[in-house]
């Protein structure tokens, strides 16, 4: 095992806890815990939002998908970044000006409906869990891949560190932790990629997709993960195949990947419907992710919320330039991952595979693993804070102002379900589930926010109907995808990438429902709109 690995991981965990404890000195009131007393500067806040946002799916999953499917899946990083533009254009400043603490709070401010508030709480918890479980699983899988440790311990370790950090420091501490983790993640991908590019140069710039198909760069032995046929010959699970340097990489029948030159060009097996559905889900889903939204309440005013979002767009965009390079170089240096199907591990394995097992390769390998750990820690912390915030205000609160002890109880409650789930459900596909979380968010909170902010005639009944129709349909699609049997044909696209029909459905039902119940438009709508849109300096 890589000797730098354990010290590297311990440093990340210690620094995370250390910054959390340091932040604890500032966390005095409940408001400090929930929204950092709204006094975080745009630069800190933007780094924190980015650190929170770049999850296992971004750090590991995007490179893995590119290694596997090529140019078609570049829509994932583009969409993950473009989501912030949609958020900036339609939501950022008015949301901050609404003065709400959490998403359910926004429902209360805008429509004053306790039923809608409860419904929103359910969706926050559902999306939070949907997003949290794969983070913990990713942690477990990384421990298995890199350290040879057990899956359960990896998931449990990250779960406990995150719960302790959120419960002790709350969001004030988390802001600093998240900001640190953004820069750690960027460094962990950017520094190795410089050495990888130099290595690729000194290797004589090998082609990414040679005409004759991919070849092994060095002698490699591959352990097959499932019964399959390799080049027409049946192989069994656990069978070890050996290849010499320069041997072509054979296609494995059970692994869904693009082995040939077509990897370079768009228009693979994904249909146009699936592509557009993915674009819609990622563009509109970001604004509906509860752990992203809760961060906007920490800006001092609407204008700074806007500037923060712009900085986030820059930070996230800079980060997403990197996973593509890992996916492309993985094609050259780690083609065996295409045979095992464990393409998510490409970021973790590439430094050592390309640079050899010397000190440099191992150091950089430890660095990317530390970055992956930061990805799990920061995203899970943010998710847990927002889910705990909702549990705290909407479940435990019961009409009284809660104490910090209640918030800690809420954190432990909110963490226990996903941690337990992640221990029992270990075979869910990480990046796919994250994509589904985006689809649910895009079909429930996105219409609620956009119409709530820009359309005076939205009513509580319309909003509830829209969230139930769009969010409910996408939730059902998620449950079918995760738990149900594999589907074929157009049904597979419609259920596997539901956003293209659930988002318009949510908007339509919400608008129709509001028009039918136009007498229920809140009487103070004028004052609410003034509050959402007028600059703070005009407040009277």
């Amino acid at each position: 095992m890589n000797p730098y690995l354990v010290p590297g991981l311990i440093v990340v965990i210690l620094v995370t806890v250390g910054i959390g404890v340091y932040g604890l000195r500032f966390a005095r009131t409940t408001s400090d815990f929930l929204v950092a007393s709204r006094s975080v500067s745009p630069a800190w806040n933007a780094a924190a939002i980015s650190g929170e946002y770049l999850s296992a799916a971004s750090f590991l999953g995007v490179a893995g998908l590119i290694l596997r499917y090529g140019v078609d899946v570049l829509w994932y990083p583009v969409g993950f970044a473009a989501g912030y533009l949609a958020l900036l254009l339609f939501v950022a400043a008015p949301l901050r000006r609404s003065g709400a603490f959490t998403l359910p709070d926004f429902c209360q401010v805008r429509l004053g409906s306790p039923t809608l508030r409860r419904l929103a709480s359910i969706f926050v918890v559902f999306i939070g869990c949907l997003y949290l479980v794969p983070q913990l699983q990713g942690a477990g899988l990384t421990f298995t891949t890199v350290a040879g440790g057990s899956y359960a311990w990896g998931a449990l370790l990250v779960g406990v560190v995150v719960t302790a950090n959120v419960a002790l420091g709350g969001m004030r501490a988390i802001t600093f932790v998240q900001a640190f983790q953004y820069w750690l993640k960027l460094t962990a991908l950017a520094v190795p990629v410089i050495f990888l590019a130099l290595q690729w140069q000194s290797d004589g710039r090998p082609l990414v997709t040679p005409e004759a198909g991919a070849t092994f760069p060095v002698a490699t032995s591959v352990v097959i993960e499932q019964d399959a046929t390799v080049g027409g010959v049946p192989v069994e699970k656990g069978q070890q195949l050996s290849f010499d340097a320069g041997d072509p990489v054979p296609a494995v029948s059970t692994v869904d990947a693009r082995f040939g030159v077509d990897w370079l060009l768009p228009g693979g097996d994904g249909s146009l419907f699936a592509t557009y559905s993915l674009i819609l889900a990622t563009f509109l889903g970001t604004m509906g992710l509860p752990h992203v939204l809760v961060r906007f309440y920490t800006n001092p005013d609407g204008a700074s919320a806007r500037r923060t979002t712009l900085v986030v767009l820059g930070l996230v965009g800079a980060f997403y330039l990197l996973p593509t390079l890992y996916g492309v170089l993985g094609r050259i240096y780690t083609p065996q991952l295409l045979m095992t199907g464990r393409t998510d591990a490409v970021v973790l394995l590439l430094p050592e595979a390309a640079l050899g097992g010397g000190h440099l390769g191992r150091l950089l390998g430890a660095l990317v693993t530390a970055g992956a750990l930061a990805a799990f820690l920061s995203t899970s912390s943010g998710l847990l804070t927002s889910v705990a915030g909702v549990v705290f205000t909407d479940v435990l609160r019961a009409g009284r102002s809660g104490s910090i002890r209640d918030f800690r109880l809420a954190t432990v409650l909110a963490a226990s379900v996903p941690v337990l789930l992640s221990l029992y459900v270990s075979n869910m596909d990480v990046s796919r589930v994250v994509g589904l979380a985006f689809a649910v968010a895009a079909s429930s909170f996105c219409p609620l926010l956009v119409l709530g902010i820009w359309w005076r005639r939205l009513t509580d009944v319309g909003a509830i109907a829209g969230v139930l129709a769009g969010g409910g349909a996408s939730m059902a699609a998620v449950l079918i995808t995760v738990l149900g049997p594999p589907l074929d044909g157009w049904l597979a696209d419609a259920i596997g990438q539901p956003a293209a029909w659930t988002v318009p459905l949510a908007f339509l039902v919400m608008i129709a429902g509001s028009l039918l119940t136009s007498r229920r438009v809140p009487r103070d709508i004028g004052a609410t709109m003034l509050r959402l849109h007028a600059p703070e300096s005009l407040r009277v």
Binding site: A82, L85, A534
Partner: protein, 130 residues
């Protein structure tokens, strides 16, 4: 004060109170229009909302046309996807590299223009005559 005596009262009120009122009242009226949600105040807020929404929709349309057309373009004209620029296939360059600065520049333009809309709105409230 009521206007019952036409000979003495008008002179006093016209000179002193009239000037103070002209300097102060319109801004106050616009502010209280906002605060009290009079039809004027509501129209002011609606105007701001319309300006901001139009700006957001226009920029969103730019992104939808520029990025959203790409999958269709690659599907309809596969030849475009095969074009190489600096040794890199066009789709990789467009999606993997250029899309991010594009998104950032659209966001930058939005922040600039949205803040200008707000400045205009503040100016309108503070000095409605101009």
């Amino acid at each position: 004060m009521t206007a019952e005596d036409p000979s003495a009262a008008p002179r006093r009120t016209r000179v002193v109170l009239g000037e103070v009122a002209a300097r102060r009242r319109p801004a106050d009226r616009a502010r209280s229009d906002l605060a009290e949600q009079t039809p004027v105040g509501e129209a002011l807020v609606k105007g701001l909302m319309r300006a901001q929404l139009a700006l957001a929709l226009r920029l969103a349309l730019v992104v939808v046309i520029a990025l959203g057309a790409l999958p269709l373009l690659f599907a309809v004209a596969p030849g475009v996807a095969g074009v190489k620029v600096f040794g890199v296939y066009l789709p990789w360059l467009l999606l993997g590299v250029l899309s991010f600065p594009f998104l950032i520049s659209v966001g930058w333009a939005y922040v600039r223009w949205a803040e200008r809309n707000e400045q205009d709105f503040i100016a309108l409230i503070r000095r409605p005559e101009q």
